[in-house]
Amino acid sequence: MAWDRNQMAARAAQELEDGMYVNLGIGIPTLVANYVGDKDITLQSENGMLGMGPFPIEGDEDADLINAGKQTITELDRTAYFDSAESFAMIRGGKIAAAILGAMEVAENGDLANWMIPGKLVKGMGGAMDLVAGVGRVIVVMDHANKHGESKLLKECTLPLTGKGVVDRIITNFGVLDVVEGGLKIVEVADGVTEDELRAATEATIVN
């Protein structure tokens, strides 16, 4: 019942269209690259690269070629490199069609929290605030509930925000929801989940 990580990633990949330039966050969003199939998608890595390729073959790692998660990667025939100011110029300037990101909390008004838990070790927001402020469409992929079984789709975020009113679509193990006027709207229910189960698992207002 419900989608697993790979099914969530596969569902997120359906959001992508031919010709899009896309930024994928770490975690489940990274898996989305495995499901784009024949679509002509160009991945941006915000440390300064368009056209990110897969991990290198063992032994071919290059210290000068990493992604924003600091992992060794490879280039493609379409790759272009640039500096960090240019990289975020294109992000802030709206040239990236979509970002697919993880989240700790999403609120029914589209607020997103995914960078900080007060009282815990603080690592920093990295490029997340720039991405959610700049890209064309923000798609969140995350588990519907936290490890205590509580909804991560809330009336209001409790954690410090990454961005205000920035989320367009949420893909969870329970289904797909859009942020609309007044709350969240169910777009799709995951295999093995009923709409009632999805509603029951969601704190945020669900509108029809």
């Binding site: 915000e46 440390n47 300064g48 000068d64 992992q71 490199y81 997340a128």
Partner: protein, 234 residues
């Protein structure tokens, strides 16, 4: 005008001062000015503020200056890989100013370009916006961020000619270009100094005007996350 120096210590001679603001290039451990950081450690300069996207790891990158307690403050976007950093930060020994990564890069670029302030949507409605001027365009709010004007830039390129024209390799370019531009003085370390005239003038990433001193040396270029596919997939 001789820009080439024998080593990092000589290249930094007369430039280091306690309490100064240093802009450093690099992303994670990729493209960091290893040799200049070693020389700053050896020089023992204190109370430094670093504008740098990351703080290195415990024994590499800016991390080596945290161990010697030479750093007073970090202006960064992500410092998650460094235990000593967290210890000093939580104990109040180290100041930390978080900047969204793109805002940090743009603040460096702005400082280098003589722009003291610019408006951005990044961080609106978050803790980053606190205390900052707000202005609206077309019904949307933007916050004012300020250019970074550093006392010194330390950056690492792949190759440079003797006039300082420099090129970078792959994603090691990252913050090195904006960091180089925002300092009053810029010291550049490279893997190879090549004769002036041997770089394609259409392909220079950092024109020599931004570079005051250059050194060449061997770089460890440590890999932080070695991720691979098995060879049989190829």
């Amino acid at each position: 005008m001789q820009k080439v120096f024998a080593n990092a210590t000589e290249a930094l001679d007369g430039l280091l001062e306690d309490g100064m603001l240093i802009a450093a290039g690099g992303f994670g451990l990729c493209g960091i000015p290893e040799l200049l950081l070693d020389a700053i450690k050896a020089a023992g300069t204190k109370d430094l503020t670093f504008a740098s996207n990351n703080a290195g790891v415990d024994d590499f990158g800016i991390g080596i200056l945290l161990q010697t307690k030479q750093v007073k403050k970090m202006m960064s976007s992500y410092v998650g890989e460094n235990a000593e950093f967290m210890r000093q930060y939580l104990s109040g020994e180290l100041e930390l100013e978080f900047n969204p990564q793109g805002t940090l890069a743009e603040r460096m670029r702005a400082g280098g370009a003589g722009i003291p302030g610019f408006y951005t949507q990044t961080g609106v409605g978050t803790v980053i916006a606190e205390g900052k001027d707000v202005k609206s365009w077309n019904g949307k709010d933007y916050i004012l961020e300020e250019g970074i004007f550093a006392d010194l830039s330390i950056v690492k390129a792949w190759k440079a000619d003797e006039t300082g024209n420099a090129i970078f390799r792959k994603t090691a370019r990252n913050f090195n270009v904006p960091a180089a531009k925002c300092g009053k003085v810029c010291v550049l370390e490279v893997e190879e100094i090549v004769p002036t005239g041997s770089l394609d003038p259409d392909a220079i990433h950092l024109p020599g005007i931004y570079v005051n001193r250059i050194i060449q040396g061997d770089h460890e270029k440590r890999i932080e996350q070695r991720t691979t596919r098995p060879r049989e997939e190829a």
